[in-house]
Structure formats: structure tokens, C-alpha cells
């Protein structure tokens, strides 16, 4: 079998969630912070867990599990919030957070990682694709679909 050719390295982060992991570009994350008190936002979507104070901003924190239709995980000890830079075309203060169950782990991608077959992907428009790393499936979020959900 022909080995996949290694390409330029891309720095990514594996984001542990309940029962699955996301794979995101490291450069999309501004900071990783400890899970702190979440302030509820009345009448918000079920996937919006609340907001945290970060620097001088209120940053909305999202449960990716809830976006995928799974139950919202409770905040567990060791949980982290990844603060993402604002999405394309949004205001420069529109950071958003995603709740992770543990500290994200760096992953260096070089193009040799095989894709997750279609059948192995979650049935959700919020997942664009996936990669197999160390025999584990990691899923890549669809930022366009997320932006439509966040800012309809």
C-alpha cells in the first residue's frame, strides 16, 4: 500500500468533548481558560451555555455536544473553555467560547493523516469532515454552518 505523502505541517488542537474530539486550527484560538462561572442568557438556544467574563468582554460559551443534538454535559472539574477569535466578517469583539472536557492537545498535521470515512462522521451539518490520528477519529467543525447558527 502506498504511504500518504507528508506535506507542510499544520498546527492543530485536539479538543476533547464528551465522547468525541474536535480538530481545529491552533491559530483560531485566542486563549484557553479554566471553566469559570457561566452567566445564563435568558431565552437563548439550548447549545448556548451562558457567558463568561474574559478580559473586558462577555464571551458566549457553546456546547458543541448540544449543537450535535447530544445532552449538554455538566461542567466537570478540569473542564476548559477555548476562546475563539471572531468569525470572518464579524466585529472584532465577537469572540466565542467552546466548552471542552479537558485541556486541548496539540496535533501536528502533515497531510498523512487519513480522512474519516463518510459513514464514520456524525450526522450533523456542523461537522465538515474528520481525520484519523493515532487510530482515533477527530472531527473538523464546519465554520460556515456554525456562523449561520450563531448569527442567523
Amino acid at each position: 500500500m502506498k504511504a500518504r505523502r507528508a506535506g507542510p505541517r499544520l498546527h492543530a488542537l485536539e479538543v476533547p468533548l464528551e465522547g468525541m474530539s474536535l480538530l481545529i486550527p491552533s491559530a483560531s484560538v485566542a486563549e484557553v481558560v479554566n471553566l469559570s462561572t457561566l452567566t445564563a442568557v435568558p431565552f437563548s438556544e439550548p447549545w448556548l451555555l451562558g457567558v463568561i467574563g474574559w478580559r473586558t468582554l462577555a464571551v458566549p460559551v457553546v456546547s458543541f455536544e448540544a449543537l450535535l443534538g447530544a445532552p449538554t454535559p455538566g461542567g466537570r472539574a478540569g473542564g476548559k473553555i477555548l476562546i475563539f477569535y471572531p468569525m470572518s466578517g464579524r466585529k472584532d469583539w465577537e469572540f466565542y467560547g467552546v466548552l471542552a472536557t479537558a485541556e486541548p492537545r496539540p496535533q501536528a498535521l502533515d497531510g498523512s493523516q487519513p480522512p474519516v470515512p463518510e459513514a464514520g462522521l456524525p450526522n450533523s451539518s456542523y461537522i465538515a469532515s474528520g481525520l484519523k490520528i493515532d487510530n482515533r477519529s477527530m472531527f473538523i467543525p464546519d465554520l460556515v454552518a456554525l456562523q449561520k447558527a450563531f448569527y442567523p
Binding site: 467574563g53 462577555a58 469583539w93
Partner: protein, 139 residues
């Protein structure tokens, strides 16, 4: 203002009037969404009692009502405590909640006052008014 133990801010750009409880006519019936009315000439302006999640509730532990200027008529919100904060004491950051706005006038919040880990959400007056007006008299 404090609603059921949770603080919210109403920006001073919103036109509003704060009324003492004794100046209002309380709803004696346990039914209905309105907790009290303010009588202005021949009209009764409704005031609602909301819990921390901004759902209609009924309790008697309120002392004041804030009436938001609106068309066709003002609408009120009762609170355990209402405090006027000097502008210099508060730094409001812009904030956009994610997802679909719950009112026709948009999201209920348009800013936040962040002090360390504490976040106090700032109402968008137009959306709050729209929400309160949508509550009606109820059963």
C-alpha cells in the same frame, strides 16, 4: 435592577420612569400575567414580574417598578431593587448573544458589564419592551 436574585442593567438611553409600589394598583387576582398597573389619566399601564430567566412569575417581594417609554403605551417591570448607577462607575462592553433573537426587535441584550468573572447583562431596551408588550394580560 434585581430580578429574582439576578442583576440586569438598563441603559440610561432608554426613557423610563421608576414608580414606588404604593403608587401602583396591584393585581389582587392570582391569575394573569400582570402584577400591577400604573394609572395614567384613563389608561392602565401593565407591569410584569419576571424571574431570573425573564419568565413571568408572581411574588410579592418587589418594591419598585420601572416603566419603559414605548408606543402605543409604556410597559413596566417590577423589581426587588432598582439602583441608579453613575455612568462613570460602569464600563459597558458590546455583546451579541448567539442564535436566533427571541423578539421581533432583536436580542434582549446588547451589552455587558464585566468585572472580573462577574457578568451583568445589559438590556436592549427596544427588545425588552417588545418582549414585555408580547406578554399581554394573560389568563
Amino acid at each position: 435592577m434585581q430580578l429574582d436574585g439576578v442583576s440586569y442593567l438598563l441603559p440610561s438611553v432608554a426613557g423610563f420612569t421608576i414608580e414606588q409600589r404604593e403608587n401602583l394598583v396591584t393585581n389582587k387576582s392570582p391569575d394573569g400575567n400582570v402584577v400591577a398597573w400604573r394609572s395614567v389619566r384613563s389608561t392602565r399601564l401593565p407591569a410584569y414580574c419576571l424571574d431570573a430567566n425573564l419568565r413571568v412569575t408572581r411574588h410579592q417581594q418587589w418594591h419598585r417598578a420601572v416603566f419603559l417609554d414605548a408606543k402605543p403605551q409604556a410597559v413596566g417591570l417590577v423589581a426587588v431593587e432598582v439602583q441608579l448607577l453613575p455612568r462613570a462607575e460602569t464600563v459597558i462592553s458590546p455583546f451579541t448573544p448567539l442564535g436566533l433573537p427571541p423578539t421581533r426587535a432583536g436580542h434582549l441584550f446588547s451589552g455587558a458589564w464585566v468585572t472580573g468573572n462577574r457578568v451583568i447583562l445589559v438590556f436592549n431596551p427596544e427588545a425588552l419592551t417588545s418582549y414585555l408588550q408580547s406578554l399581554g394580560e394573560g389568563a
